[in-house]
Each structure stands twice: as C-alpha cells, then as structure tokens.
C-alpha cells in the first residue's frame, strides 16, 4: 500500500511540476535558448501565491498574479538578452539571482506556511468531498490538459509560428519581417509565466512556499523533457501536442522514479545529485549509442573482404 500511495503522490506532483517543465520546454526546445531564470521564477510564483493567501486573498487570483509576475521575470531576461546583448545563459542567471532577493522581499521571510489557510485545493476538496490527494491530482491533470490545448493552438497561430521559427532560424525570421527580439521576449515571458504558475500550484499543493523551492528546477525540467523524448524516441514524426504531452509524462515518470528510490531508502539529501546524474546519463546515452553504431558499421565493413565497399 505504501508504494501505491507514494506513486499516487508522485503522479500528482508530476503533473503540477510538469507545468514547470512545459515552461522550460518553451525556451529550451522551442526557442532554443538555455534560460536559467527558471529557478527564480518558480520560487517567485510560490512566494507570491503564499503571500497573497496569507493576506487573505483569493487563491485563484494568486495564480493569475503569479503568471503575470513570471512573465515579467521572463521579460527582464529577454530585455537583458535582446536589448543589452547579454548571452542568454548569463541573462537568465542574472534574473534568477536577482529574484532570490525579490522573493525574500515578497515573503518577508524564507518560508511561508499555509497550514490553516484556504488553498484552492482545500476549497475544491470541500466542494467535491474528494480526498485532498485526489483533488490535487485531478486539478493538475485538468490544468495540464487545458494548457497543452492552449499552447497547441497558440503555436499554430502566426505569432506562435514566428516564435517556433525563431528557434529554428532567426536569421530567416528577420528576413521575413518578424522582429526576433519580440518573439524571443514573448517566448521567455510565456515560458516563465508557466513556470511561475507551476510554482504557485506546487505551493498550494504542498502547503508552504520556501525561498529554496526553485533550486534545481531547471534540471528537473530538463529531466522531464528528456525522459519524455526518450519515451517517444521510436516515433519519427511527432505532432506538437504530442511533444507537449510527452513533457508532462516525462515529469510524472521522473517523480515516480524519485518516489521509488526514496522508498528504497535513498537519503533525500542525495536527490539532487541523483537528478543531475539522471539528466547527464540521459543526454549522454544517445551520443554513445550513435558512436558505437558508427564504430560497429566500420568494423563490419572491414570484416567483409578487401574491397572496402561493404557498406554499400
């Protein structure tokens, strides 16, 4: 029973964190920018949400404000990158480190518990009579489904196409009359808006916001994206919607892996190291396989007589 409960918890965490992974996907895959704002904007969403709820404001409203704040953080990174010509990685780090102080200022302390306060999950649980764990899971799934649909539609529009094209060939996009500074900033705002939304949802689900809640979020996002891609690696062509679904699925699988290793007795302190190794291995394996395949085919050509054209 313990395992099943742990897995249910993992799945519901997976979908909520999956929204963060979707945000990372916007920048890392769609725009082809390594945006490190993530850790800061995730905690930003959490801080704002927790602070607004302790102030007695509507928890749903806090989601909207979190999205807006995340988008603003993305805009700052975008401004530093496009207008000030700071490399994207550095621009993201600058925003991220700045947000650490901003988040402390917002909360006024490093940890804000929501124990006795009304979160949206508690409201929904009271409304539906379902247990809290299920409410969190169902809400997460509904949010993910809605967001995937919205994103799918958005990236089918003229502006959405221009953002995708910017990630593929920004030179072409400019020559076809779209402002790539604008598309980049828009993509960064969208990504960080999603990330902050995820931070706010996670905060309400776990019942507290912490200044360090975003630490390593970028790696978890990457892990989710890569796990998702590995799962669907058999498919040559994937529709955009399927790719987004794969990200969420990757996030869920990541959480299940984490839950399982914790059940097996891994110290939580080692979790980040495990995540880092997981991502590094997942990134390295396809390269190693390709090299091995190349070597094998060369060796096979040597074996097949002396004409050296065995490969043909």
């Amino acid at each position: 029973m313990g395992i099943l409960l742990a897995i249910q918890g993992a799945v519901s965490q997976g979908v909520l964190w999956g929204i963060m992974a979707l945000g990372v996907y916007m920048t890392y895959r769609v725009l082809d920018i390594a945006d490190l704002t993530v850790d800061g904007s995730f905690a930003l969403g959490g801080s704002i949400c927790a602070t607004m709820i302790t102030m007695g404001m509507n928890p749903w409203l806090s989601l909207v404000v979190a999205i807006a704040a995340g988008a603003a953080a993305g805009a700052v990174t975008g401004f530093l990158h496009t207008k000030c010509d700071i490399p994207a990685i550095l621009a993201g780090i600058l925003t991220q480190i700045g947000l650490y102080s901003v988040n402390l200022r917002i909360m006024g302390r490093s940890n804000t518990p929501l124990l006795k306060l009304d979160t949206m999950f508690k409201q929904l649980a009271a409304l539906t009579g379902l247990p809290a764990a299920w409410v969190s899971l169902i809400t997460g799934v509904v949010f993910c489904a809605g967001l995937i649909t919205l994103l799918y539609c958005f990236f089918g529009t003229e502006i959405g196409s221009a953002i995708r094209a910017t990630g593929s060939n920004e030179h072409m996009v400019r020559s076809l009359g779209a402002n790539t500074n604008f598309t980049k900033v828009l993509g960064l705002m969208l990504g960080n808006g999603l990330i902050a939304l995820s931070g706010a949802l996670v905060t309400q689900s776990q019942g507290y916001a912490d200044i360090k809640m975003g630490t390593g979020a970028i790696v978890i996002g990457l892990a989710s994206i890569i796990i998702g891609e590995v799962l669907f690696s058999g498919k040559k062509r994937m529709a955009f919607g399927t790719k987004l679904f794969a990200v969420i699925l990757g996030s869920v699988i990541y959480r299940i892996i984490v839950a399982m290793v914790l059940q097996m007795g891994l110290n939580t302190d080692d979790l980040k190291l495990l995540t880092a190794i997981l991502v590094a291995v997942a990134l390295a394996i396809p390269v190693a396989i390709e090299k091995q395949r190349q070597l094998q085919s060369y060796k096979a050509s040597l074996g097949k007589g002396d004409d050296g054209h065995a490969g043909n």
Binding site: A162, A165, S168, M172, V173, S175, G177, N179
Partner: protein
C-alpha cells in the same frame, strides 16, 4: 526605386582588423531593373546587399526605397520591401519546420502577425501549385521538415519563398554558388523565369561572368567598396568576358592574379 547615396561602411573600426567594406557607394535602380553584380573577393558586393537589407547599420549616407528613407529602419521592417536569397542554402529556410510552414512564414513577410492561424487551407492549395512548378516533387512532401531537403532543394524553396509575395526588390547573394552545376543552372533558370514573370526589380551577386553578362538588363562591377563599372542595355548585351576581365584588371591592378580564378 532603390537609391543608395554616398554610403560608407567600415567593419571593426579602430582595430587591427579594420576593413573598409563600402566607400562612397552610389547606385540608383529603376523599376524592373535586373542588375547583376560582379567583383573580386572583398569588393563589397555582399556588404552592399546586406546594407540594403538592413543586416548591419550603415556608417554614413542614405538608402531610399520608393522615396522612403530606410537608412535607420531595422532589418525586419525593411523585409516589407524585399525578398532575399542567400549564398548559404541553410540560411533562407527553417530546418526544424515543415515545407508548408516555411512558405506560410514567407507569405506573411512584411505583414502584421497576429493570432490568426499560421496556415490556412486555401494557402495550402496555393503552395501545392507553387511547389509543383519547381519540378522537384516537393508538392507531395509539404509536411516534411525542410531539414530533410538537399541544398539545391532548399535554395529553390528559398527562392519561391522570397517571391511568394511579390517583393519590391529581390536580393540574390550568390544564391547558386554553393550548388552543383546542374542544380545551379536549374535555380538560375527558375530565377530568370520568376523575375520576368513578376516583373521584379532585382540585384544578383554572382561570380560567374557569363551569367552576369547573359542575365538581366544591367551589370555593375564593384571594387574596393564602390562601383567602378556600370553598363546597361545594348552595351551590356555586347559585352565579352574578356572585356570584363580587362576592366577588372585596369581597376584592381596587381590584385588581378588573386581574383582571376574566381572571376573566370
């Protein structure tokens, strides 16, 4: 329609790598002029096209299109006026997107992009017909990723994209230089066909002197960042490669030996 007045451009100003790319460049194009541009390496041919397109800002002078001063207009805004094809076949298309998506981006060149669908059904029908005339079978692969196409196919597609929505000015920067001779000829024929059909105004940089003489109604030769020879009409038609070589030699003197290979 295009006026380049006293344009200067120096790269890496004040460093050891300083390169005067354009010095007092002047050029005036009439409507439907199809101008071929020749010159040795570093003569400023590509720089001229890039300045017109707005890739880099100019140091001095003025560039006017249809009476509008575009000197300070950013590249993406100038795209409203022009279609471009580059030397590198990878540059003009987005590898990660479908053929039809690339075309749909091109169809919206210079227009406001909003939240309308990025590609419509009627468009797809048009793309099918347009791709068919390339004769490369791409019309049956409209939802393939452009990254799967060969350099020649991508260049033909870029040419189609540049002219899908009639440009005021077509800029061709050695667009056949990276292709094998047969493909180059095909893309060149297609270029002539489209320019004639749409009655386009075009600037075409080439290293092939024969092409430069045969194609278009006007020829300019560049050296050291400005135009040293400008012929049109009958005079251009009667040009021989030898004449151009002589002209080039007279202008460039000792550098001739270096550039001969590229010009012959």
């Amino acid at each position: 329609m295009l006026e380049i007045n006293h344009v200067y451009k120096t790269f890496n100003k004040g460093t050891v790598n300083e390169k005067k790319a354009l010095t007092d460049l002047n050029l005036k194009l009439e409507d439907e002029d199809f101008v071929t541009v020749i010159g040795g390496n570093g003569a400023g041919k590509s720089t001229m096209l890039n300045m017109v397109a707005g890739v880099y800002p100019i140091d001095a002078g003025k560039i006017m299109i249809d009476g509008t001063d575009v000197s300070l207009m950013p590249e993406y805004k100038r795209a409203h006026f022009m279609g471009r094809v580059f030397q590198d076949p990878m540059m003009g298309t987005a590898a990660g997107m479908e053929i039809q998506e690339n075309l749909s981006m091109a169809l919206r060149r210079g227009k406001r992009r909003g939240l309308r669908w990025g590609i419509t059904k009627q468009e797809r029908e048009r793309y099918y017909e347009e791709l068919k005339r390339l004769g490369l079978g791409l019309e049956e692969r409209m939802s393939s990723k452009v990254g799967l196409l060969s350099g020649g196919q991508r260049q033909a597609l870029t040419l189609l994209m540049a002219t899908l929505q009639k440009p005021r000015l077509l800029l061709l920067d050695e667009h056949t230089a990276a292709l094998d001779p047969r493909t180059a000829k095909k893309v060149l024929d297609l270029t002539k066909e489209i320019v004639e059909e749409q009655k386009l105004t075009a600037l075409m940089v080439t290293h092939n002197m024969k092409d430069a003489i045969q194609i278009g109604n006007r020829l300019i030769m560049m050296h050291d960042g400005h135009i040293i020879y400008d012929v049109k009409g009958e005079e251009k038609k009667n040009l021989q490669v030898a004449d151009l070589l002589a002209k080039f030699e007279a202008a460039s003197g000792e550098e001739f030996a270096n550039d001969r290979m590229l010009l012959s």
